[in-house]
Symmetry: C2
Subunit: 288 residues, 2 copies
Amino acid sequence: MFKVTFQRYLTMIEQFLAQLSWDKDILNQSMHYSLIGGGKRIRPVLALASAESVGGDPETILPVAISLELIHTYSLIHDDLPAMDNDDYRRGRLSNHKVFGEANAILAGDALLTYAFELLADPGVGQPERQLRIIREVAVAVGKDGMVGGQVADVAGEGQMLTLGEIEKIHKGKTGALLTASARLGGILAGGTEQQVRALTDYAQALGLAFQIKDDILDVVGNSEILGKPAGSDFRQGKSTYVSLLGLEGAEYQLHAQIQKAQAALKPLDEGAIFLSELAYYIEQRQH
Amino acid sequence: MFKVTFQRYLTMIEQFLAQLSWDKDILNQSMHYSLIGGGKRIRPVLALASAESVGGDPETILPVAISLELIHTYSLIHDDLPAMDNDDYRRGRLSNHKVFGEANAILAGDALLTYAFELLADPGVGQPERQLRIIREVAVAVGKDGMVGGQVADVAGEGQMLTLGEIEKIHKGKTGALLTASARLGGILAGGTEQQVRALTDYAQALGLAFQIKDDILDVVGNSEILGKPAGSDFRQGKSTYVSLLGLEGAEYQLHAQIQKAQAALKPLDEGAIFLSELAYYIEQRQH
């Protein structure tokens, strides 16, 4: 069932992405290149599943869910830039700026972020007040006190020995905030109760941390071919990670603890949460 | 009267900007540095004045009007980057990346753009449907088919001989789209009629073109001290401008023609448009 449901969400997402129209110019090509780069689509999947977990129709919120993938893609393009992580590869392909040049990569990121807010304000998604609230929440999650703030702290921390608390703060910003917003967005737009939205929030916060710990583990034990990027790049860049601080076993333990926490948070959602529960195991076991 | 009203708008804008809270970290400092860099605040002024021209209360739409200045500031920070125009100075001070470094400049721009959408979705601005429409309009105006698209075309056109049509297209994207959105935003949020919003649109489109022609003229005849950036930088960068294509006299003629067009467009607004009319003359005569 998990795979069938996951595939149903992915099909909705890929079909929506495929029907967006792109001009032939270099900006559109550059945006499209990174957006159709084989991402895992975890954020829109999480939003659609969260909507369904509280009894909503995922189709209704699709444009808003897609916006999360656009935001994620913009953040990857900017993170890879020479001035930031200077990564030449992403998902097994050349990073955006290696193909389209630095100026176009910056601008493609800018345009994807902007396009995301156009989709967030899509008409016909539901109650306009709720939608405005979601726009504010997403903006806060990916702005200076969220994702961008996390990236600034990450760049500043390179080559430094960070504490576990500092690493956690960086990741809460870099990955956690948008994942949490994704789950909340689905729950809120689908009219979930306060208790349900709270459950989704707690779930997604633990999931976000688990996601990052798994990333750090894969950087050490992962296969470069499957990862689509060179394994060990955190180490070479002198980044503090969960593995460098806790050791591999300690990181695995923490990963599992967060997955348990995510599972426990789902209780109030009863059967509505079956997919989300399996999604957490999927993230614990992913190989890329 | 014009100066008094202008000052009233500016006071509202500066007070709102001053009460935004900024943390002490480098990202917040970097955002704040460029935002409080002595801009002319034309876009929020245009929005507030447009709201008032159709009988609305400018105070109500203030957060939304401020978002326009954040978007404008983000675009300047990214335009100045080494990968783009590589400008060391802006408004008489070092450009953002010269002070905070390239990574922080990119991220400050990203965070300002994101913050802008948070303000655009501010609660209590008015009818949520209207506000969602405005968010879509602003996103389109500053996205791939608007401001970002214009910047891509501008970067691509450097060192090439462009036609007048090509220059006009670049500027419609780079400056025109956001100025037009600013006027429409004020008119729409304040509940202007379709005819009034149409008038504001036509006015702002002509004003936007005039604004750019004036910029090109100032780059040739302007005083570097007053401009806050070296005069003649378009010429040195091999940019095609209205002046390089039409000559100084031809550009002055075009400027005046656009100002006349802007004035004519204001007819349906009657006395409501007195300030906007004088704003057009102000833009024609500005020295920086």
